[in-house]
Amino acid sequence: MGNNDSGPIRSLATGVPGFDAILGGGLPEFSFNLIAGPPGAGKTTLAQQIIFANATAKRPALYFTVLGEPTLKMIRYQRQYSFFDAAMVGSAVHYTNLSEEALEQNLTLVLERMIAEVERARPRIVVVDSFRTMSGSGTELGSPGAITIDHFVQRLALHLTTWEVTSFLLGEYADQEQRSPVFTVADGVFWLSQVTDRNSVVRKLQVIKTRGRAPMPGLHTFRITDDGLQIFPRIPEQQMQRRPQAAHRLRTGVPGLDELLGGGVPAGDAVLLAGPAGSGKTTFATQFAAEGLKMGEAVVIVVFEEYPEEYLERAEERIPEVDEMLGEGRLEIIYLRPLDLSVDETLAEILQAVDQRGATRVVIDSLSGFEVALAPAFREDFRESLYRLVGALTATGVTVFMTSETTGGYPDMRFTTDKVSFITDVIIVQRLVEFEGALHKVMSVVKMRGSDHSHDFRLYEITAKGAVIGGTLRDYRGIITGVPELVLRPARPDHVGLTVSEAAVLDMLVRLGGASRDLLATRISAVPNELNQVLERLVGLGYITLAEESGSVYRAVARLGG
């Protein structure tokens, strides 16, 4: 199992997902390690996972249980984990109970027994669980040849290393006890902790030291599942340098949007689409994903607010090919909603999917859901968390499309995920505005880093086929207030002889391309009879025509200017 050889010290793969990366390539072979932390932190499970990944019949693992959890109970619970291979017990993994020796507080006896077992079994790995129960018994007194706990640890460490054993002492320690001699003797110290905040529990691992290795600094979150520990290495900022991108743009799949973005989204950029509830954010995001799939790319969609089945069902309504694309393995939907997530865990899931699928587009729908899914402790640092998440994703070269819900009244609309704009390259904002007696959807491109873009407010609609960008709102003012006013300009020279109302209807038809009487009525808030008269007059004057195309549709007649 040794790998990542460097000089005379070989590395031992731990078998714990994420742990080797944190350790800088694995555990130094024959090292004497301490796994410390409070009760329930996962010390025993971590040690068990390591021994089952490494023990063989030829070089077995010896697991000494002392005064902590009774062996019977430990086996009963540990065998629930998928890594626990009952077939290895008795051949590759041996459990030995030292409770009688420890109860006598005779460290010499304990040491002799351990040494005898090591010499008999010639193990590759030795675990002492829980070491703390022995050290807690204090100094051995009275008996001839008595040794102190410090001597015991030194002798044990020397003996195990001489016998070419990689060893782990498990112990319950408080933070202030890190000056204990055991910490000095140990080659590696791994500190497990858990923080309870409201209803969430966040587990963290810190590599306090590893001789001969450069471990990843910081606190790394981990989760204990049916498969044991999974550690999510904290991505340091120096690993988030953005990969240089080819200067090409990705089509968004939303008709009309690419023009506003100067030809599409620059590859490798982070896009934020912010809008209120019901503004169609998910529709935009789905179209962005679908467009990638249509172009032959692989896509990862991360959802937090609804189950993947529901998400897919809604997506299929507009993009029937989604199911087929899923079958081709080019689409992965990740659902994360445990309410105690860490950013690193989320990132690990996404990066794994991106790597497996070779994805070029990642959709995160939505940041608001992501924030809620995080453990409370991480929500406090949401801005920093997002920075690391987006930085790490764009560093891989993928283009990230995120949605975010906006709150608050007009015009002080805010992103719920406060101050996220700095992490994004492109920001598109959606609004619901009221005019002509109805709510309309309006969007604009607010920011495009290093690129020109449209500054127009544009109407858009969510149709059965998805979002479609419509006309401008140049005849309105005060759009950002949410209640814009129509600016009734005098009839233009090419509208000679028209009233203000007739000119407004004509302008609306020019902008929409075509519209039914009902649609016009809602758009310009006209009284039906008055609108009928206006329409009849415009038809009579030859400004507009009435066509029968799946209902009566009025269209403006193209006229030469002047």
Partner: protein, 131 residues
């Protein structure tokens, strides 16, 4: 598996009666399990099994758990005198079956078999000794 344990003892101690052979099998299982579970854990297991089996085997009523780390059961000789070797042999066989079953319920039959049978193939740290 219990039969294999007793057969092994019979093969090694053919000169003894069935009760002694069964008793040696119990002692060997005790020492084997004590290595894994500790003497306290092992005694607890034997105590429960004894309590479970006594109702069906009167020969077990007078037997007691050993007070030392080295001995699993005491007063076996007295039981033989009172109820005869065949009855004691049957009772101790039932006790072994109950121990393995109890262990199986706690950690799974495969693991229980593994822990006990390791004593058949490997030399136990301390050989069983008859009372």
């Amino acid at each position: 598996m219990t039969r294999r344990l007793i057969a092994r003892e019979a093969a090694e101690n053919g000169a003894f009666d069935d009760a002694t052979v069964a008793h040696r099998a119990c002692e060997r299982a005790y020492h084997q399990l004590a290595r894994w579970l500790g003497a306290t854990g092992c005694r607890t297991l034997f105590a429960r099994a004894l309590a479970q089996t006594r109702g069906d085997h009167i020969a077990l009523v007078e037997m007691r758990l050993g007070t030392s780390e080295e001995t699993a059961l005491t007063r076996v000789r007295e039981a033989v005198d009172s109820y005869g070797a065949p009855a004691v042999a049957r009772a101790l066989g039932a006790l072994l079956v109950e121990i393995v079953a109890l262990l199986g319920r706690l950690i799974g039959e495969d693991m229980a078999a593994r822990l006990v049978e390791e004593g058949i193939h490997n030399n136990a740290r301390t050989d069983a000794s008859p009372t």
